[in-house]
């Protein structure tokens, strides 16, 4: 089988220990995906597998075999993704290190919310989701930002959520 990354097929590595993160960065030079903690605690390595957000540092490349991986390079392939544009517009970054992970996570988060998936802070678990600031903060809590750009990040995501709802 092969791993389809941003539309191109790659063979999984021979060594089963190679994480999806290391495959992307070290072997395919797709360095948009960042390595922070390498232990699941920061979200910098977030990518999409079959459209769902996951951590590439805790995913073996072998686990992605036969599946579709989308990284920040894939999201931005046809010019700036609306979330990338919104992060620029709303100052959703300072150093930019957490940004690819934030944007991949946000892209999947908007789809989750539109599908009605609740979060820990959703009052009524069975009602349609309204994305408040608190909802966005909780749903994005898996992505840390050392620079503290969170207010801009929340603004950027809310602006895209509103555009999509309109």
């Amino acid at each position: 089988m092969t791993i389809r990354i941003n539309g191109t097929d790659y063979d999984p590595p021979e060594d089963a220990r190679v994480s999806l993160l290391d495959l992307l960065r070290d072997r395919l030079q797709l360095t948009g995906t960042k390595v922070g903690c390498n232990q699941g605690a920061c979200g910098a390595c977030t990518v999409l597998i079959d459209g769902r957000r996951v951590l590439s540092c805790l995913t073996l490349a072998a686990q992605a075999d036969g599946r579709k991986v989308t990284t920040i390079e894939g999201l931005g392939a046809d010019g700036l993704h609306p979330l990338q544009a919104a992060f620029l517009e709303h100052d959703g970054l300072q150093c930019g290190y957490c940004t690819p992970g934030q944007i991949c996570a946000a892209a999947a988060m908007l789809v989750e919310a539109e599908a009605g998936m609740p979060s820990y802070v959703t009052a009524d678990l069975t009602a349609p989701v309204t994305l408040s600031r608190d909802e966005v903060r909780e749903r994005m809590s898996g992505n840390l930002c050392r620079c503290g750009a969170h207010n801009g990040i929340v603004d950027a995501i809310l602006s895209v959520a509103q555009e999509r709802a309109a």
């Binding site: 089963a16 699941g40 996951v54 073996l60 009605g116 609740p118 069975t126 898996g142």
Partner: protein, 327 residues
Amino acid sequence: MTPVTYLRADSSAAAIALGAADGHRLLGGGTNLIDLMRKGVEQPAVLVDVSGLAAPITEAADGSLVIGAAARNSDVAAHPLVRARYPMLARAILAGASAQIRNMATVGGNLMQRTRCVYFADAAGSRCNKRVPGSGCDALGGFTRYHAILGASPACIATHPSDMAVALVALDARLHLAGADGVRSVALANFHQLPGDSPEVETMLAPGEMILAVELPPVQPMRSTYRKVRDRASYAFALVSVAAGIVVEDGRIADVRIAVGGVAAKPWRAARAEASLRDGPASVEAFVQAAQAELAQADPLPGNAFKVQLAERTLVAVLTDLAGGDA
């Protein structure tokens, strides 16, 4: 990480056969196992990936809900029947980890995840009876904020980190365990073991067995919730958590179920608190008494003694909220 071979199981029968061999380990989402392999705590020779096995969530004829072990945590929390009938379970799952990790984590892996005791994870530098039986416990006299106040032993004071398991135990969940000899059904309440003299034994899963499914018996409609107290508002393990459900009829408690997380090596069913409340008044005084009855068994350390009062107050706050105007 030591070299490892990766295999995918295409059926649970294949997973049982492959997983039973020496040095072979089942792999769910990998969010715990891959991390511990990288830290040198776990060193399997072969990984048998069970995360792709069919994992339906189905309602049985008697109204119970059966959840396949490979179901992702996020899919369980989002399932319409879980949200409508077992809100404390949906909330407990949503209180755990992050959205990314919940998308990866399986139900089986969540129940089998190892403790987050930092000395357990420090294979190079710390002594740990769970990792190396008989070697000692560096948590004693160390950093114990996240350690147990109930059911611990001089050999080990670790807690079980799962949020989901706390709600499941309050809901009387059962596990279907499958091995070479067939399938048995056990109460989740009996599944995780207190440390005693052998903290390396964490569950009643026999060698070569796997978790096939979780079964939730039907519950009568009740107000229920999950509340997690932690060092930051999200994406942090519990200091203390409470899963609770209550039925109040004419000011009296007709049914109540309570479990506490972050306090023991297993999700802690608060049987004494439940007994103290059942058929009694739904009042704040009764809630305080019940919480104190449960925590009277606590045996904390200086570094986590605050958790006794924290657990008491969280229990009272959750029960008072649930009783609402009836309290």
